[in-house]
Amino acid sequence: MNPVLKLILEGERLTTAQIGEVLNLSRQEVEAEYEKLKTEGVLLGWRPILNPDFIAGKEVHAVIEVKISPEREGGFDRLAQRISQFDHVESCYLMSGGYDLLVFMRADSLHHVASYVFERLSTLPGVLSTATHFMLRAYKEQGYLLGEETLTDKPSMSF
């Protein structure tokens, strides 16, 4: 794996200069790696990972299972791309198994999710059915464990 990518995936917040120092690259070389990763479509963007408990009350998270009928040309792609266009849709995947698309969405309220599903999603031609699940609580968010107690009496010095 690209060393710059590998390092940023570790999840520590390092500046370009610091990454350069760690990997023995110049700042320009690290910037060039970023550009390359972006051009290649590997690196899509940057976002902080927030604790869902912090967001709770401001947003609701829903997961929607969608059954759709594939089209003669393009299969599931066109409809999946249409569904993905909505701003509230965070992620959209084609799945194997009992349904076709798995849609992750965020909205201000339960009502917003409901109106999206009823008015926009289920009325799209080709959408056969939907099943909407609301997230109640997060235990792990993108690799970060939540609610794990840290050991407080671990010695801060030892031999």
Binding site: E12, L14, N24, S156, M157, S158, F159
Partner: protein, 391 residues
């Protein structure tokens, strides 16, 4: 009531560093590079296996020597990694960490007044453990110019009549020193010539970043005069499990077993189960942690050298051991002032014996964020405290 304390215990030096540790413990926002253990929590697979063992009701004593399955797994692991074979039946003893293995090994072989050679700077317990076993500790000083590898010449020079054993620890805490095969061969030849038994604590062996790790037990003629000690604390991030083992010729392991059975009975079964899991499925996690230590080592060593603290690149373990001699400060004053002024904790080199004079130990088993912040603070500290130092 101090008159009741045994003389050899009363004579043990009380570590002055403990007071320093207490100050660090109370300082909330200090960055500590003074921790002698991995910053990783034990891999989940190993923790989960321990929980499962408890659920299964595995809470009893085990065979004094340790679980059969564990001894068999240890035999395979040691044969593969260290190129030396031991019979799980009577040549392997599972202990409460390498600490117990070392203590038991020393007690098994030392008659009062026997001399035991060890290299310094070294882990803090070696000299006291020798004393507690009624032996006499004979230090061999390793030097920065040799990257703290022990040389055969230094060994020969330190040797004196009455030396019965040689205690080795490579890679070394606190210096990260390792010994190349050729040097180890000379050390082995010397041990044979002087008829010494070797106790080799190889707890950091998996964390060897450059060159091969060679166990002295694997060299010709050494298996019969070596007690090989190893454990799970460092490579598998299992310090709190307190689990290790000793391998050696039958007679010696039997002698250790007798002390162990009366003193300890057996290592805790849940820790033994955890160790079994580590050997069976813990390799990937171990290699993942090792890779991270190596990257962090390169970063911290470069930063120390840049700021004017001469530092060799340790080939093993997870400690950098830079010289602070050019600052004109003593290592204890340096550590105290650094903590006071910049809230960065390091361990003064003399905590590891007089050979550590003029050095500090900084652990790099921590996040980049901590390493970068701590070294930035140290650079600022050097700028304000010691104008004389320059890169």
């Amino acid at each position: 009531m101090s008159r009741f304390v045994a003389k050899h215990v009363a004579g043990l030096p009380r570590s002055g560093i403990r007071d320093f540790f207490a100050i660090v413990a109370q300082m909330k926002d200090a960055i500590s590079l003074g921790i002698g253990e991995p910053d990783f929590v034990t891999p989940w697979g190993i923790r989960e296996a321990t929980i499962f063992a408890l659920e299964q009701g595995k809470t009893s004593y085990t065979d004094n020597r340790g679980l059969n399955a564990l001894r068999e797994e240890i035999a395979d692991y040691v044969a593969e990694l260290f190129d030396v074979s031991y019979d799980p039946e009577d040549e392997i003893l599972v202990t409460v960490g390498v600490s117990e293995a070392l203590d038991t090994a020393l007690r098994a072989i030392i008659n009062p007044g026997d001399k035991v050679m060890y290299h310094e700077p070294c882990y803090v317990s070696y000299s006291p453990s020798i004393t507690l076993a009624h032996g006499i500790a004979v230090p061999i000083i390793t030097k920065a110019e040799d990257a703290f590898a022990m040389t055969a010449e230094a060994l020969a020079e330190a040797w004196e009549p009455g030396c019965k054993a040689l205690l080795l620890n490579f890679p070394t805490n606190p210096t990260g020193g390792t010994v190349a095969r050729e040097t180890l061969q000379k050390i082995a030849a010397f041990a044979q010539e002087k008829d010494m038994i070797v106790i080799s604590d190889e707890i950091y062996s998996e964390l060897t970043y450059e060159g091969e790790h060679v166990s002295i037990a694997s060299l010709p003629g050494m298996r019969e005069r070596t007690l090989f000690l190893h454990g799970f604390s460092k490579a598998f991030a299992m310090t709190g499990f307190r689990i290790g083992y000793a391998c050696g010729p039958k007679d010696l392991i039997d002698a250790m077993m007798r002390i162990h059975q009366y003193g300890i009975l057996c290592a805790p079964i849940m820790s033994q189960e955890a160790a079994l899991e580590a050997l069976r499925h813990g390799q990937d996690d171990m290699l993942f942690m090792k890779e991270r230590y190596q990257q962090r080592r390169d970063c911290i060593v470069e930063r120390f050298n840049k700021m004017g603290l001469k530092c060799h690149k340790p080939k093993g373990a997870f400690y950098a051991f830079p010289s602070i001699a050019d600052t004109g400060m003593g290592e204890v004053d340096f550590a105290k002032a650094l903590l006071e002024q910049e809230k960065v904790a390091v361990v003064p080199g003399t905590a590891f014996g007089s050979g550590g004079k003029g050095f500090i130990r900084a652990s790099f088993a921590t996040s980049y964020d901590n390493i970068l912040k701590a070294t930035e603070r140290m650079e600022r500290f050097l700028e304000t405290r010691c104008q004389g130092v320059s890169a």
